[in-house]
């Protein structure tokens, strides 16, 4: 059945131009699906009125899960009855967003039958977004998805669906197996992912190298970013080839090194690896000649978030270097100590990063039993207001803490 589409003169203007048109996508779906047809009409109205028409979500979901479905109702249900409820389902994507056409077609078939026929490939956190269906279709959709082994992702105050770069599947810079690690963490924390029990959301993102293609340092509470400890691997013949092909190694590579730890004499490239900051620039520019070292692992950083509530944060270093080997027990133990503390002491809607700002990194480290190291700060404190916790009294035993042996 092909529906007659509503008149949408404003949206029609977005069918022109070279960039793929989302209006064409909605129209394609709307020809077959009355939900998408109503969505088109409601969006046209928003374009005229310059305001959205979606109400706050109610609590909807599938049995036994507390997250993964975003409830949505429009504020004009009598005029747009087919989308009076229009809930979104977040479906946990496979690591690295790789698919077979067989798997994608099965998802499409389910969504053709159960929902609007519209998706996001993918949402900002990384899930497959099935955009819009009615309350009575949520449980059947989940049941259909279970038959093809796709599970629901996170929403609300839980572990959000972890995501990762394509890592060792297609990148020579992957310093650990991001896709397997992302899968292992996702499987280890299914309960935390599906049943919100935290003060607020908690995101993991796994990047294979400091280029950070999944923006983990900006967007995840725990950022696991691949790095290496030994020397950059160098292929001298390939360097000569880059030079012979016209690359200006001094201006393109050496002058852009933030550590100023490289020299080029026209023939030989020297790297003083003890000062290398693992920024990736030289490796990015000469991928045939330079590669990360062989002693690989990850830097673990904590606390990134967008502005709501207390301001945006980037993640900061928690563990400068750790080998990334399954089953990642040391990391998972630490994650659980962090969650225990944050669940006990964190305020509602307070992300881990904000919690650390409030209690102080020093106190936070003590509570999670991690020793402070200089890599955790950009520089030591500039103010002299130090909170010493103990002091000596006259007559204290000389062997008390703080006494030097000499």
């Amino acid at each position: 059945m092909a529906n007659t589409l509503p008149k949408t003169p404003m949206l029609d203007e977005l069918e022109t131009g070279e960039w793929p048109s989302f209006v064409k996508e909605i129209k394609m779906a709307a020809k077959e699906n009355p939900m998408s047809s109503d969505l088109l009409a409601l969006l046209e109205r928003s374009y005229k009125e310059k305001i959205g028409h979606w109400k706050h979500g109610g609590i909807v979901g599938v049995m036994g899960y507390g997250g993964g479905v975003i409830g949505r109702y429009n504020d004009l249900p009598e005029e747009y009855p087919n989308i009076s409820h229009f809930h979104t389902m977040r479906i946990n994507q496979p690591s690295g967003w790789f698919y077979t056409t067989d798997a994608l077609r099965k998802i499409c078939d389910i969504w053709e039958k159960r929902g609007s026929g519209l998706t996001n490939m993918h949402g900002s956190t990384g899930d497959i977004i099935l955009l819009g269906t009615s309350t009575d279709q949520l449980e059947p959709t989940f049941s259909d998805l279970a038959k093809i082994d796709f599970d629901i992702g996170g929403s609300g105050s839980d572990v959000r669906t972890p995501s990762c770069c394509c890592g060792m599947a297609r990148c020579e810079w992957a310093c650990y197996d991001t896709m397997q690690c992302c899968y292992d963490f996702t499987m280890a924390y299914q309960d935390e992912l599906h049943r919100p029990a935290f003060p607020y959301k908690f995101k993991f993102k796994f990047s294979g190298c400091p280029n950070d293609c999944v923006a983990s340092i900006a967007r995840s509470d725990m950022s696991i970013i691949g790095t290496w400890r030994d020397e950059i691997q160098m292929d001298k013949d390939a360097i000569a080839e880059y030079a012979a092909n016209g690359m200006d190694i001094k201006s393109d590579v050496v002058d852009n090194c933030p550590a100023k730890c490289m020299e080029w004499d026209g023939k030989e490239l020297l790297i003083d690896n003890q000062y290398c900051r693992r920024c990736m620039h030289c490796i990015n520019v000469m991928p045939k000649a330079l590669r990360p070292g062989k002693d690989r692992g990850a830097t673990i950083l904590l606390g990134a978030k967008a502005p709501i509530v207390e301001g945006a944060l980037l993640s900061s270093v928690l563990i400068p270097f750790i080998k990334m080997e399954p089953p990642y027990k040391e990391i998972m133990d630490m994650v659980e100590r962090i969650w225990d503390l944050w669940c006990e002491e964190g305020k509602a809607r307070e992300r881990v990063g904000e919690f650390i700002q409030r209690v102080g990194l020093g106190n936070f480290l003590e509570a999670i039993e991690v020793e402070p190291v200089a890599e955790m700060v950009a520089f030591p404190r500039e103010n002299p207001y130090v909170f010493y916790e103990e002091y000596f009294e006259e007559g204290d035993d000389d062997e008390e803490e703080g006494g030097d042996d000499e």
């Binding site: 949206l11 203007e13 977005l14 131009g17 070279e18 960039w19 793929p20 909605i26 394609m28 374009y47 310059k50 305001i51 959205g52 979606w54 109400k55 036994g64 229009f86 690295g96 967003w97 790789f98 698919y99 056409t101 994608l104 499409c108 026929g117 996001n120 490939m121 900002s124 279970a146 082994d149 796709f150 599970d151 995501s163 394509c166 060792m168 297609r170 990148c171 020579e172 992957a174 197996d177 899968y183 400091p210 280029n211 950070d212 293609c213 923006a215 900006a218 967007r219 393109d252 852009n256 693992r278 990736m280 967008a306 502005p307 709501i308 509530v309 207390e310 301001g311 945006a312 809607r349």
Partner: protein, 357 residues
């Protein structure tokens, strides 16, 4: 007998979705080369090659379109494809023989090829008026207009470095735009209009008060009903109160619009990651084509492209020349709104005589 209900089985394991050339060379990739815009080859230690063609996709994708992608992947890629962290679709092949016919088919479908290397990749964005209750602007529409205008920079590699654009339709930033070369951020500018008739039924008053980061909300009795009042001069339009209480709506056609933030980055290459900083405090919502936004962004892209050194991202360039110079060069008027007045604002004041004239 009822079927046992499965839960908590997690995502399917990725391995079943990998093409054979990836399975065989997993972790063995040696180097890659960008062959031309939107096309790259990865070469393995074993000598195997993996060709990738990257095409623009709109994020909002119909099942009809996904099936068209699948048809192409079946025809040219042995039934395998992937998506990127910026909503692009990628086709993966173990030989170069199908690259050109695939590109021709993608172009016929209306999907430009590009977004690799020194180019503008697709805009990470949010739901906007399509599906969000707190949007201050549309997302897909603004993205469509900006990318239509900048399409040459997606399809070619003629920029000094990478340029990453992101859009979030409100300060909640589902698009986490705060570390982008150019961030388009929907903003509200009118304090919440309190629905006193319903607030006491819908919301917990202590939670509403506590939600405000500037303590602008306090309990009040209005027309005999328990409600709240907002000290309007303290409201910075974050909408956190609306998130916890539907009776505090912020959206307002006369006052909502778009702000532009620049100079952020996520990668550690050269300079450490940086937040984006405010360039243009407010541009109007002017659907369907948002001309003020597309013009402002084109001007920023072209100013950077004309003046940055090779590899220099937007923020690295501005840090080198200094923000006052940037404002002079761009013609953007520096206003009170550009000066931070939230936490740690003092750290953003200029604390030296390192100035250009």
């Amino acid at each position: 007998m009822a079927e046992e209900r499965r839960t908590d089985y997690g995502p399917p394991h990725f391995e079943q979705f990998l093409p054979p050339v990836i399975k065989e060379n997993y972790g063995k990739w040696k180097y890659h080369e960008v062959l031309k815009p939107g096309v790259m080859v990865h070469v393995s230690e074993t000598g195997d090659k993996l060709y990738t063609v990257r095409a623009a996709s709109g994020r909002l994708t119909s099942i009809q379109k996904i099936r068209m992608y699948c048809d192409l992947a079946d025809k040219y890629c042995g039934g395998h494809l992937r998506f990127t962290s910026r909503h692009n679709v990628e086709f993966l092949m173990d030989s170069d023989k199908n690259i050109e016919p695939l590109i021709a088919d993608l172009k016929d479908m209306g999907h430009p090829i590009g977004g690799i290397g020194n180019s503008i990749s697709a805009i990470v964005h949010t739901q906007g008026w399509i599906h969000c209750h707190s949007a201050a602007t549309d997302a897909s529409g603004v993205v469509k207009c900006v990318m239509d205008d900048l399409i040459e920079y997606f399809k070619e590699m003629k920029l000094p470095g990478k340029l990453r654009v992101a859009l979030a339709c409100c300060l909640n930033m589902c698009g986490a735009v705060h570390c982008s070369d150019i961030a388009i951020l929907g903003i509200h500018r009118r304090p919440p209009r309190i629905d006193h008739a319903n607030l006491y039924k819908m919301c917990e008053i202590p939670s509403v008060s506590a939600s405000c980061p500037t303590a602008a909300i306090r309990p009040a009795t209005v027309d005999g009903k328990q409600s709240v009042e907002v000290i309007e001069e303290r409201c910075m339009f974050c909408a956190n109160c609306f998130t916890v209480c539907p009776s505090m709506p912020m959206a307002d056609p006369l006052n909502d619009g778009v702000s532009i933030w620049i100079g952020g980055k996520v990668s550690n290459a050269r300079h450490e990651p940086m937040f984006s900083k405010l360039a243009i405090p407010f541009l109007p919502n002017n659907p369907p084509r948002w001309p003020e936004v597309t013009t402002a962004i084109r001007n920023l892209v072209e100013l950077w492209a004309a003046n940055a050194r090779k590899y220099e991202r937007m923020g690295e360039w501005i840090e080198r020349i200094g923000w006052p110079k940037f404002f002079r060069m761009s013609g953007i008027e520096f206003q009170k709104e550009h000066i931070d007045d939230f936490k740690h604002a003092g750290l953003t004041y200029k604390r030296s005589t390192h100035l250009t004239f």
